[in-house]
């Protein structure tokens, strides 16, 4: 009985202790499992953890120590020596912390890489912003530029309307001025016609004046000539008067009527005595007026025919011409002819008066 009581008491005392040991074992398993998992995790990222090889190795070593400690302190029934548990936990926790260190270092590297990547993107983005800002500015300026003409268009439109109105008014004015101009052109044309007419008149008048002046000059000349002729005639007349023969003026000149007997004796047909004086005076007269022409015409009358007919009077005219040339008269200016009995001046009874010599001086006035 006593033995039974002792065994039961021992069992009762053992129970809580075993429960605590099992609980600690579970906790240890969990910690170990966690440490193993963490170490495996960082080992799987060996390519990344190369720079932190020492930390990785440290974690591994702590895990190994924990495993070794655990193994050493676990009996054949799988029971872990209670005294060793804190050390095992310590190593497992150390392995876990070292894994966290490694992970933290990895994370730091990742963050730095990410930061570096992001920092590279910043200037790129800023450059893009700058470009687009510049574009936006440009667009704004263009918009402003576009807006400006709209405002300007309004004022231009107003100006255009005013200009159109002004144009209409000016068109009317131009039309009015055109009409006025046409009227004025007509008036000017009419005035030009008048002016032309007046100009023609002036030309005509001028011409007439010039003609009149010419005529006046000519008349003056004519008057002078006439005066000279008259003076000449007067001079000749005075010279002729000195010859003491009958004389008369006619339209062509001056005719001297000289009794035939004073110049020629018939029937002898010779120069009469005393005729030299008359012939001399006539010759002097012809020399004084060398342009003057002298026509000697001898007239007969009655009988006998041999001294009175035309032939006889022509002979007598020739004799007189010869005498006059001999006395100094120019032969070229002297013509001689016989008239016979065809032109008596007086009645039949005045025989000797009808027998005469007429000397006509011509070209006196024409000179």
């Amino acid at each position: 009985m006593k033995k039974t009581i002792i065994v039961l008491t021992m069992l009762l005392m053992m129970l809580p202790i075993n429960g605590s040991v099992f609980a600690q074992s579970d906790d240890l398993n969990f910690i170990m499992q966690k440490a193993k998992s963490s170490v495996e995790k960082i080992l799987s990222r060996s390519h990344e953890t190369k720079p932190f090889a020492a930390d990785v190795e440290s974690a591994q070593n702590y895990l190994k120590k924990a495993e070794a400690e655990l193994k050493t302190n676990t009996n054949w029934r799988g029971k872990v020596n209670e005294a060793a548990i804190p050390t095992v936990k310590h190593y497992a926790n150390m392995a876990e912390v070292m894994c966290q260190v490694v992970q933290s270092r990895l994370e730091k590297v990742n963050q730095e890489q990410e930061n570096s990547r992001l920092e590279k993107l910043i200037p790129e983005t800023e450059a893009k912003i700058k470009i687009f800002e510049a574009k936006n500015k440009e667009i704004k300026l263009l918009k402003d530029e576009l807006a400006k003409p709209r405002g300007a268009m309004k004022s231009i439109s107003g100006e255009l309307s005013a200009l159109k109105l002004e144009k209409i008014n000016m068109t009317k004015e131009v039309s009015s001025l055109k009409t006025e101009n046409a009227n004025l052109t007509g008036q000017v044309a009419a005035l030009n016609g008048v002016v032309d007419s007046l100009r023609n008149d002036v030309v005509d008048k001028t011409k007439k004046i010039e003609d009149l002046k010419a005529l006046q000059g000519q008349k003056g000349d004519d008057i002078a000539k006439t005066r000279n002729k008259l003076n000449k005639i007067n001079s000749i007349w005075q010279d002729v008067s000195k010859i003491n023969v009958l004389s008369k003026l006619n339209t062509t000149g001056m005719t001297l009527i000289i009794p035939r007997n004073d110049l020629i004796k018939t029937p002898a047909m010779k120069m009469a005595s005393g005729s030299e004086t008359i012939i001399g005076k006539l010759a002097e007269l012809m020399k004084k007026y060398p342009d003057m022409k002298a026509q000697i015409k001898v007239y007969g009358f009655g009988k006998p025919d041999k001294t009175e007919n035309t032939k006889a009077t022509e002979n007598m005219a020739g004799i007189l011409k010869t005498a006059l040339v001999k006395a100094g008269g120019a032969a070229a200016n002297i013509s001689a002819s016989g008239a016979g009995t065809t032109a008596p001046l007086y009645s039949k009874s005045a025989v000797e008066d009808n027998r005469r010599v007429e000397i006509t001086f011509s070209d006196i006035i024409s000179q």
Binding site: M13, P86, H90, M94, E107, I122, T125, K128
Partner: protein, 131 residues
């Protein structure tokens, strides 16, 4: 009966253990290591690690406290383990701090980039004032 009492006593002693029976003297090196670890923790607490990895530093601080307690309890091996853990945690705190700082830097860069990208998207989509 006496035998039973003695056996029970022996069993209980074996089951619960008598730490004092295994207590040993703590070496000066361990004490020095504790002091150095404390100083290192204090120095680390003045760095960015106190901002970025305060949780880990707290864990390290707890480990140091545990080490101190173990030293006080004359458990040198356990104290050394706690100190080792504290130092590893401090290293982890430094590394984590660098990682978080890098992450924060990346986040700032990403935020800046995202802002620029949004700005760019706005410009491209023709939003007014997107400059």
């Amino acid at each position: 009966m006496k035998k039973s009492i003695i056996m029970i006593s022996l069993f209980l002693s074996a089951a619960t253990g008598i730490p004092s029976a295994f207590a040993q003297n703590i070496s000066q090196a361990t004490v020095d290591q504790l002091l150095k670890t404390k100083a290192a923790l204090a120095a680390l607490a003045q760095t960015k690690a106190n901002i970025y990895s305060k949780d880990i530093l707290d864990e390290a601080r707890t480990s140091i406290t545990k080490a101190q307690e173990r030293i006080d309890a004359k458990k040198e091996k356990a104290a050394l383990e706690s100190l080792e853990m504290a130092q590893t945690l401090m290293n982890y705190a430094r590394v984590k701090s660098e990682e978080r700082e890098a992450a924060e830097k990346t986040a700032v860069t990403r935020a800046k980039l995202e802002k620029l990208q949004k700005n760019l998207e706005d410009i491209l989509s023709g939003k007014e004032g997107a400059q």
